[in-house]
């Protein structure tokens, strides 16, 4: 037992590297926030565009959503980081990670928002038309508020899962939490930094996990009411 705490929770190592690891946490937080904002906004935009029922939009939507929902995140990350430079596009690890994660979240949230929009009965749009509310106003004030509310429990789960992908940034040399812990671990020849990173991930994500649990429970209750 003594060896476990000495190896995995070594105070000396922790004291030497906590600054570096906190820097990593800060990068993780930034990437996570940017991903959520861009990914949700992007998905909402795509879903609204699809409301126009333009054939071209439909095709772009289907191709985009299916590609980014199907190919693993790490593969997309590598494509952007290692393949794009052959086409002359060189993006920093930070931009690569944010771009990858928000493209993926955009695809998922677009699909969820659109499914929610489609799930709203036709009568809602009929009623809005009968009340002389215009097409755009109907989408903005009648359809979207309901669709967003329906999507929230599904999307919080998805958004958490995808923002946890910030750790994948380590694979393209992004000095986020995992990356900085890994480099500290190899220098210190001790796994304490990695355990610190794990604990910080828990501290960062557990409030979100609890929030999503609460949202899901509330929506179940509302459905039963």
């Amino acid at each position: 037992m003594g060896t476990i705490s000495e190896v995995f929770f070594n105070a000396d190592v922790a004291g030497r590297y906590w600054g570096q690891i906190l820097d990593g946490l800060w990068v993780t937080v930034q990437v996570a926030l940017l991903t959520v904002v861009l990914g949700i906004a992007g998905g909402l935009l795509l879903a609204v565009l699809k409301c126009t029922r333009n054939v071209l939009v439909d095709i772009v939507f289907a191709v985009f959503v299916d590609i980014f929902r199907t190919i693993p995140i790490l593969v997309i990350l590598f494509l952007i980081y290692f393949a794009l430079p052959y086409g002359g596009v060189r993006l920093s690890p930070l931009v690569t990670t944010v771009l990858t994660l928000s493209l993926v979240l955009t695809a998922y949230s677009a699909e969820t928002f659109w499914s929610a929009i489609e799930a709203i009965p036709r009568g809602q749009a009929d009623a809005a038309r009968a009340l002389n509310i215009g097409g755009l106003a109907t989408i903005a004030f009648i359809i979207l508020p309901q669709a967003i509310r329906m999507s929230i429990p599904l999307l919080t789960n998805r958004a958490i899962a995808i923002t946890k992908g910030t750790a994948l940034g380590a694979a393209v040399a992004l000095p986020e939490l995992l990356g900085s812990a890994q480099s500290a671990m190899s220098i210190a020849a001790n796994p304490t930094p990695l355990m610190m990173a794990a604990m910080l991930y828990v501290a960062f994500f557990i409030p979100l996990v609890l929030l999503s649990r609460w949202l899901e429970r509330r929506s179940v209750r509302q459905r039963r009411a």
Binding site: G123, D126, A130, L131, N132, I133, G134, A137, Q146
Partner: protein, 249 residues
């Protein structure tokens, strides 16, 4: 400005509509004067709902003319909007907006269609809620109301646009029996106040109390038009007789 009674509010002339190959409305002719109350009935699939949905542009039609309070309906969105200003509609499934409170269900259309004086609109909305006897629920959400209450809110919502004509598309068929009366009472009040109404309904009591005439449709055609008493007691066409037998049992 009140119009003289007897002025034509809705005029339908040789209206024809198809859903693909299916001929839903065949040569419909119907005139509705100011203050008239029409009950449309007929077996399901006879085209009665489609007919009233044509009157406010929820459905388009291929042939014929429809004139709604002086507006000749075309496919142009401008004329459809103009017609909708004059026409309120109540649906079978209420179609209240679930994310808005009762009062906001009434206010959203005036707000979005650019009403100037929202204070005045709000007063009028409260007055309407009182009229449908639901003012005490103004702050609640539709899911907290019974079906009958929701439908009364839907009626108030349609009235809030100050329509000249009210359309009712089977307003009581989704309701539990004990709630039908409260909705019909509101509709009867509305008729007594002189509102021009077209109601798709099989409620004979309502038709007898308030309707000027019953229009019976079958297979996309108007088969018979008669005052309620003579229609229910002494239907002329064989199809109306058969239909009345099925709804009486």
């Amino acid at each position: 400005m009140p119009r003289l009674p007897g002025e034509t509010m809705i005029s339908i002339d040789k209206l024809n509509k198809w859903f693909g190959d299916f001929h839903v409305l065949k040569d419909i002719d119907l005139d509705v004067a100011q203050g008239q109350r029409i009950v449309l009935c007929g077996p399901s699939g006879s085209g009665k709902s489609t007919l009233i949905r044509c009157l406010n542009g929820l459905e388009t039609f291929e042939k014929g003319r429809v004139n709604v309070v002086g507006v000749e309906l075309t496919r142009a969105s401008a004329t459809i909007r103009q017609a909708r200003q004059q026409v309120g509609m109540v649906f079978q499934s209420f179609n209240l907006f679930p994310h808005l409170s009762v009062i906001n269900n009434l206010l959203i259309a005036p707000r979005l269609t650019g009403s100037r004086n929202m204070g005045e609109v709000r007063d009028y909305a409260m007055h309407l809620l009182e009229r449908v006897r639901i003012a005490d629920q103004a702050g609640k959400y539709p899911s907290e109301l019974s079906g009958g209450q929701q439908q009364r809110v839907a009626i108030a919502r349609a009235l809030c646009m100050r329509p000249r004509v009210m359309l009712f598309d089977e307003p009581t068929s989704a309701l539990d029996p004990e709630m039908i009366k409260e909705v019909l009472d509101v509709m009867v009040d509305l008729g007594r106040d002189g509102m021009t109404m077209i109601a798709v309904t099989h409620e004979m009591g309502f038709a007898r109390t308030i309707a000027d005439s019953v229009v019976f449709m079958d297979a996309g055609r108007i088969v018979e038009t008669a005052p309620p008493a003579s229609f229910f007691d002494n239907p002329q066409s064989e199809r109306a007789q058969r239909f009345l037998k099925t709804i009486l049992h």
